[in-house]
């Protein structure tokens, strides 16, 4: 039986094609012709397939890298995603095998910045991540720190990169080194990939500053000129495809990395190594079993939607405006709203912590302004004055419920732990 990568001859009623079999089990058999093109051949028309030659095993040999004296060590931990996607052109499958040698082969500039320690700790698209993965990554970071490293780069799928960044921000107490999450919006197998600029900029930050915290390093604009470092709790993916999708929300970026000059320009205050060296890193993991829901308020809301979360430890609401839910009946069309209010009460009474955030993304939850907000507070909804993104609220609530007693949750949620809550809203923090 022919396997993907084998050279075969396909004989149909009218033609003959010779090429390399591609791995696609569909209505059409796909072969790569020697001119480079792939074509699909209708399987029903195929009379015979002959093997011409077995697949040639070709291994790209990378040179061994010698440690350079005087350069810091940077650890790169790979978790999968677009940045790590590498197509096996013989089979069409995606392979992720990241030895330092292969990485240097791909991004030779890294070799001039640091000695690289690189390994794969997970291999997944980021939408598949669960809390258990956060714990794995945190433990791997702990190992790297114990082995001595100037900083850590985590390569990650972009879809939930900001969730992981927030999670690590909370989990890694007394973090003594920078942990920089890096993704790519264009895969590394294309010439236009943003992976190189992002990963090299992260290395520039680590080797040139005393930043000690969790940050995200991605393109600042559509240009391949600079990256920005955003605090792990203040970032959000704001575009489905642009390179500059990650933006700071309710904060400014921490720093700008000029890619051409390999220079760091600090934009705002950051947590430095000085704050950390005296204490030892403590990893506070997530409980795998913690169940937190996430719901968005919307017109024609039904109480049933809320009740689906009965039995959950927590629920984050993306409220409208300042942090509102439709809980008041005002005319003959709004009787359901009373049911919504009852459902909120029922959830809270049964032990679900409900935290408010705002779907405007920018700005603060302010439940004192309108009576509906005050009523929500009276029912027991927490999260007033928060300027966290809904995603950071979700991660924080999950982490707090994993690590603290239920009675302490409201207080910890309202206190700043790692830069997720700010006291003042500066003018230059909107749409930046």
């Amino acid at each position: 039986m022919e396997k993907p990568g084998d050279k075969i001859k396909v004989i149909t009623e009218s033609e003959e094609f010779e090429g390399i079999l591609m791995p696609q089990e569909r209505e059409f058999l796909v072969i790569k012709l020697s001119n480079g093109y792939n074509i699909g051949i209708d399987r029903n028309k195929i009379k015979d397939i002959k093997l011409v030659s077995k697949r040639e095993a070709k291994e790209q040999k990378a040179e061994e890298i010698k440690e350079k004296k005087g350069l810091p060590t940077i650890s790169i931990l790979h978790t999968g995603g677009t940045i790590a996607s590498k197509v096996d052109y013989n089979t069409g499958g995606v392979v992720a095998k990241y030895t330092p040698e292969e990485l240097i082969l791909k991004f030779p500039e890294l070799n001039e910045i640091a000695n690289i320690r690189s390994r794969l700790v997970a291999n997944m698209m980021s939408e598949n991540m669960r809390f258990a993965h956060y714990n794995v990554i945190a433990r791997e970071i702990e190992k790297e720190i114990n082995n001595g490293t100037k900083g850590i780069i985590i390569t990650h799928g972009t879809d939930t990169l900001h969730y992981t960044a927030a999670a690590l921000s909370f989990m890694l107490e007394n973090l003594p080194v920078p942990v920089i999450l890096v993704g790519a919006q264009r895969s590394s197998d294309r010439g236009s990939t943003d992976a190189a600029v992002n990963i090299i900029s992260a290395a520039v930050l680590i080797s040139n500053t005393d930043f000690a915290g969790v940050g995200i390093c991605m393109h600042e604009s559509m240009d391949d000129k600079s990256c920005i470092i955003i605090s792990g709790t203040k970032a959000r993916k704001m575009h489905s495809s642009r390179r500059d999708a990650f933006r700071p929300v309710n904060s400014k970026a921490i720093a700008r990395i000029n890619f051409e000059k390999k220079k760091v320009e600090v934009i705002s205050d950051y947590r430095s190594m000085k704050n950390a060296v005296s204490e030892k890193l403590i990893v506070k993991p997530f409980k795998d079993s913690v169940k937190i829901g996430f719901i968005k308020s919307h017109p024609s809301f039904y109480s049933q939607e809320l009740l689906a979360y009965k039995g959950f430890d927590g629920l984050v609401i993306e409220g409208t405006g300042l942090g509102h839910m439709p809980i008041n009946a005002s005319d003959e069309f709004t009787s359901e709203n009373q049911e919504i209010k009852n459902a909120l009460k029922e959830l809270i009474d049964s032990g679900t912590t409900i935290a408010m955030s705002t779907q405007t993304l920018y700005g603060r939850v302010q439940m004192n302004v309108y009576s509906v907000g005050r009523e929500l507070l009276d029912i027991g909804v927490i999260g007033n004055y928060s300027d966290m993104t809904p995603e950071t609220t979700f991660i924080k609530l999950s982490w707090v419920l994993s690590n603290y007693k239920k009675d302490d949750v409201p207080e910890i949620m309202s206190k700043n732990i790692c830069g997720e809550l700010t006291e003042r809203t500066g003018e230059g923090t909107f749409l930046v």
Binding site: S34, G36, I39
Partner: protein, 510 residues
Amino acid sequence: MRRIDRKDRRGNFSCVITKMEMKNKTEAGNNANGNENNLDYQKLGFKCGLEIHQQLDTKKLFCNCSTSQSSSTKPDKIVMRRLRVSAGETGKVDIAAEHEQKKRKYFLYHYYEDTCCLTDLDEEPPMPMNKNALETAVKMAMLLKMDIVDEVQTMRKIVIDGSNTTGFQRTSLIAINGKIETSQGDVSVQTLCLEEESAQVIERNEDFDVYNLSRLGIPLIEIATGSEIKNPEHAMECAEKIGMILRSAGGIKRGIGTIRQDVNLSITGAPRVEIKGFQELKSIPKVIKYEIGRQLSALSKNEKLLGEVRKAEPDFTTSFLRPMPGADRMYPETDISPVKLEALGEESLPELIEDKAKRYSSEYGMSNELALLAAKKGIDIDSYKANYLNVKPIFIAEYFLTMPKEIKKRNNIEIAPETYEQDVLGRLNSGEISKEAVMEILVELGKGNKIDYSKYKSVSGGDLEKEIIEIVKKNPDKTQGALMGMIMAKFRGKADGKIVSQLLSKHMKK
């Protein structure tokens, strides 16, 4: 297939020229630098194939942007990018790609809001392939008697000179194994691909190049012939023939830069070169002859020739453009789902321009020249004939093709005859005006004058006959020719000359 063919050809070449070959060459190319016309192309081992690129007139291939020219002259945004070499499917970095990488250039892309979008900036994944473009490609493939693939797979062809923001050009093989008939036998058409047009370079500098994104993504048909083309003139004939077939299919862009011909060329002892950028079709034979002259002269001096891409210069010589790209330069475009393809029914295939011209000439009695012109310009004589039953097809062709030219020459006025089609052909059809008046009416319309059509009412029947009898009576001494002149001057643009002549003969006999 095309690429195999190239490889074979390259493989067959030996870099050492044998004495026998040298002898052949001297015989065949003794006039290499002067009078090239005497070359024996067969003896030279002349191998030549064409690659024709034709832009289609639809929306862009993988987004919904317009493919017309931007209305603004200043870009709405300029984006700076770098490209990196990625190892191709075999893990090998392409030679041409490496050549670009070495230059370490960055690129500036001019973005225009009305003709570009995020897809052009490589900031948004592509949309499915434009259906109209695909249909046109299938039509062309059928006219070229090709086998259509069952399922189209879009590929990424690595291009890192900056002309594609992605670092690759999306291209799909639509059909294989076609042929065109020529005066010197059939020439095979090996592949027809539908691909995206590259961005247009505006400026090249030491450390960066500037591109305009408006052109990027326009659907482009790429047709590659086999290497059986026999001589430089034959190359031009093939290019003309393919051009005619593409125009016959319709749905193509017209004008400067919308069709481009590349020539692949080799002679024994020299590696293959690709020549791009012909200013016009007519220059093809001369450029090929000069290039062969260059190669023969280098060979006779034992100079090493390289396989490379060369540019056709206005003086018919060629200059180095870049090294020849290797074969390792394609991998699957995973953002685009494969498309199932079926050949169109014969009935939906357009008539070839040359067939149409032959039919116009035999069916409607047009001169070969007029018939060909009408077919080429897409003047749909059949449908005009159906609309204007009382107007002769030949007159319709003249109305659209000959008259505007003549008016331009005589009166220096530009006429757009299609604008006045209803006014003029409509009135002619209903007998409101005479055929003879059409030229004069067009001139007046061209000047922007208001027309009193009653002035051009055709005089015929009893009225005309009465007048003629009168004139004949008054001028008993004049010849028929003189009388004819007098009458036509009086009824200028109102009477049909043929009828006047008949009436004159009738009444002069008495």
